[in-house]
């Protein structure tokens, strides 16, 4: 995965991994996302910021296949992509860690890791032993303290559950990773761990969308921020070109600073 991804970064750096163009979706007359566009390059971390209800989660759920957009186009590797359900997104290498983690609480870590992509024996039955063995390997890398492979994930701590969700997202050679409020439920040590993981994945050439309503969570990790307000994109900026205060201004007032590229949602005064 490593070399392949780096190669991609070198040769296709000009083509974004993902480009979402003029995406709109409404629920019962409410424009949850209105003509939003954003893109993501290999090895890049893009922070998607905005208040609760700004439309960032909805936009990202369109990319992960949980919602189907009303209009707009998604390009993956420069090619037009059809993403009508979560299966399609996963086939394209788009993996998501949801804020709720989306784990089946009543089954164990291996069953969750492989949910929807189970390893089968040659008889077509579940190969639980193989799945558990693989899960042990992945979890050892990610969280060496993790030992409770037989317990339903309901009985695990918040951090352990988080590592199961992360393991599931990165185990299948993800190229595009979406993390929705990845540190919202974590303590400082675990947050630090997630930060390290993001650096490592970035070096592997994976593109990452970090979604948060809290600028402090993402500013130091992100290369670029895209700010949304009321369903529209206020603007995007490299984190080196703007200050935290300026980004706060974008989130709260929708005011685009000089260092940022304004979007359709920028206030015009």
């Amino acid at each position: 995965m490593n070399t392949q991804a780096t190669e991609q970064q070198n040769t296709h750096a000009a083509t974004p991994l993902v480009e979402m163009k003029d995406i709109s979706i409404s629920f019962g007359g409410v424009h949850a996302v209105d003509n939003a566009s954003c893109d993501l390059y290999p090895g890049e971390v893009v922070g998607l910021l905005g208040h609760n209800g700004a439309g960032k989660s909805t936009l990202i759920k369109i990319l992960s296949g949980a919602y189907t957009r009303d209009s707009g186009t998604i390009f993956v590797d420069g090619k037009k992509a059809t993403i009508d359900n979560p299966r399609h997104a996963k086939d394209l290498g788009i993996e998501t860690i949801y804020q709720t983690l989306a784990l089946a609480d009543n089954v164990d870590a291996a069953a969750n890791l492989y949910l929807g992509r189970e390893i089968l024996t040659r008889w077509g039955t579940l190969d639980d032993a193989a799945m558990e063995a693989e899960t042990r390997k992945v979890m050892n890398r990610l969280n060496p303290n993790f030992t409770r492979f037989k317990d339903p994930v309901k009985q695990l701590s918040g951090g352990q559950r988080q590592s199961v969700a992360i393991a599931r997202a990165i185990h299948f050679n993800a190229r595009i990773l979406i993390m929705d409020e990845p540190t919202a439920a974590l303590g400082p040590a675990e947050t630090e761990q997630v930060g390290q993981l993001i650096h490592q994945l970035k070096n592997d050439g994976i593109g990452i969308f970090l979604i948060s309503h809290d600028i402090h969570d993402v500013f130091d990790l992100a290369d670029r921020v895209v700010v949304m307000k009321n369903g529209a994109v206020v603007g995007s900026a490299k984190t080196t070109d703007v200050t935290k205060d300026e980004v706060l201004g974008m989130i709260i007032l929708g005011k685009c600073p000089a260092g940022a590229t304004p979007g359709p949602g920028a206030s015009t005064d």
Binding site: A66, P86, T96, A102, Q155
Partner: protein, 433 residues
């Protein structure tokens, strides 16, 4: 959790950990033994005759449990996915009626009375019919978003009414003679030798499964059970199987049947009479086969994994790319097919299709699944639990008949047991998590 407990854990806990036996299962077997002993001793001391723990009663119990047990295995999957199916009793009646019409009114016209193809065609039609109606209800639930409670409550009324219309209110009898064997009775069994052969095969399978499981765990370097625990499980399992064979074989044919059989086969009956064993009856064999197949489906296949994942977190299952609507449809279709199988057993046992067949079965089936540990909150339940639950329900039922409780008391006792069982189950879960 395991680390903290290490120092205080008792011999019992260590024993349970080593054998990896489900404590729930032990609890249910304990309850069953209590019920059986209770009825037997009550009969012994109060009525002067303990009729419960006799080969005859246990054989009958096995036959009576079968139809409910078959449906309960499907109800587990329905309830695990947070649905309910109230229509199984009516659907059983309707399927039985369709099969009755098929083999009594329609097929003899084309094939001639007693044609050997009548029973297989009837059985296939009955099961397919159940599956089709189940799928139809499943479509309404999954794709039109009508709650399962409502769809199947409607079904409960509709299918009962429909079977009345089909038969114009008549009882359809007599069914095909071969078909009737599926319901048990002296001829509907595999006999003493057959039971021994089956018993030995099952013992071998138990050993093979234990051996295979151990090899699989070793291959991936997981911890294995200590050898004594493996031997104990294999030994107890085999002993239970052999015990069941001996009980079933200890119930002889009634004298009248033996006489008829002897006359038909020109056998002279010696002074002491001939002891011809029943052995396992076909209904219980069908129920056990369904139990094995459903356990396999629930634990070893993708389908089963998805059922439990949907029950645990429907949204997560959807986001993992599982087609939850299609799964719901399939689960209800499977429930319908199992109801069809139960209809075969029930109508073959009665040798007729009556209007009341299957009435209130939905309640017993749901009760069996729930007593067997299936949780209405979704995501939790086992097939073997539901089968044991069916056995508990039927034991209570026939035990009270044996000791002469009247039906009003019977209903009240069954109702109380259901509520208490779920209460105990809640306690158990709270303490184990």
């Amino acid at each position: 959790m395991s680390v903290e407990k290490k120092y205080t854990e008792s011999a019992l806990v260590r024993f349970l950990r080593a054998t990896e036996v489900d404590t729930r299962l032990l609890g249910m077997i304990g309850a069953l033994i209590l019920i059986w002993l209770g009825f037997h001793l009550y009969g012994h001391f109060v009525n002067g005759y303990g009729a419960f723990l006799t080969p005859r009663n246990l054989w009958n119990l096995s036959v009576q449990t079968s139809s409910i047990a078959v449906m309960a295995t499907g109800m587990v999957l329905v309830i695990v996915t947070r649905h309910i199916d109230l229509s199984v009793g009516s659907l059983l009646g309707f399927s039985a009626m369709i099969m009755g019409v098929m083999q009594v009114w329609i097929l003899p016209k084309f094939l001639g009375l007693g044609h050997p193809m009548i029973w297989p065609i009837t059985v296939v039609v009955g099961i397919a019919f159940g599956a089709l109606i189940g799928a139809f209800q499943g479509v309404l639930i999954a794709y039109l978003n009508i709650p399962a409670f409502i769809v199947t409550l409607g079904g409960l009324l509709i299918w009962r009414g429909a079977s009345y219309l089909v038969a114009r209110g008549e009882t359809i009898a007599p069914v095909d003679q071969t078909f009737a064997l599926i319901g048990g009775g002296p001829y509907g069994t595999i006999g003493a030798t057959g039971s021994w052969i089956l018993g030995i095969i099952v013992c071998l399978v138990i050993v093979l499964l234990l051996f295979n499981g151990r090899r699989q765990r070793k291959k991936f370097g997981f911890t294995t059970r200590p050898m004594w625990a493996e031997l104990l499980i294999g030994g107890v399992g085999s002993a239970l199987v052999i015990g069941a064979v001996m009980v079933m074989n200890a119930y002889p044919w009634p004298k009248g049947i033996v006489k008829k059989y002897a006359a038909a086969n020109n056998i002279e009956i010696p002074d002491g009479g001939i002891f011809i064993s029943h052995g396992f009856a076909f209904p219980i064999l069908i129920a056990l086969a369904v139990g094995v197949a459903m356990t396999f489906l629930a634990t070893r296949t993708r389908f089963g994994r998805y059922v439990f994942a949907i029950g645990g977190n429907p949204e997560a299952a959807e986001l993992a790319g599982i087609n939850t609507k299609k799964m719901t449809m399939l689960i209800f279709s499977l429930m319908g097919a199992l109801t069809g199988i139960a209809a075969v057993i029930a109508s073959a046992r009665l040798k007729s299709a009556t209007l009341a067949l299957g009435q209130f079965d939905e309640l017993y089936v749901i009760a069996a699944a729930v007593i067997g540990g299936t949780s209405f909150a979704g995501g939790i339940g086992t097939i073997y639990g539901a089968i044991l639950g069916a056995l508990v329900m039927q034991s209570l039922q026939s035990g009270m008949v044996l000791i002469g409780f009247d039906s009003a008391i019977q209903q009240m006792v069954v109702g109380c047991v259901l509520v208490i069982a779920v209460f105990l189950d809640n306690l158990y879960r709270r303490n184990s998590v």
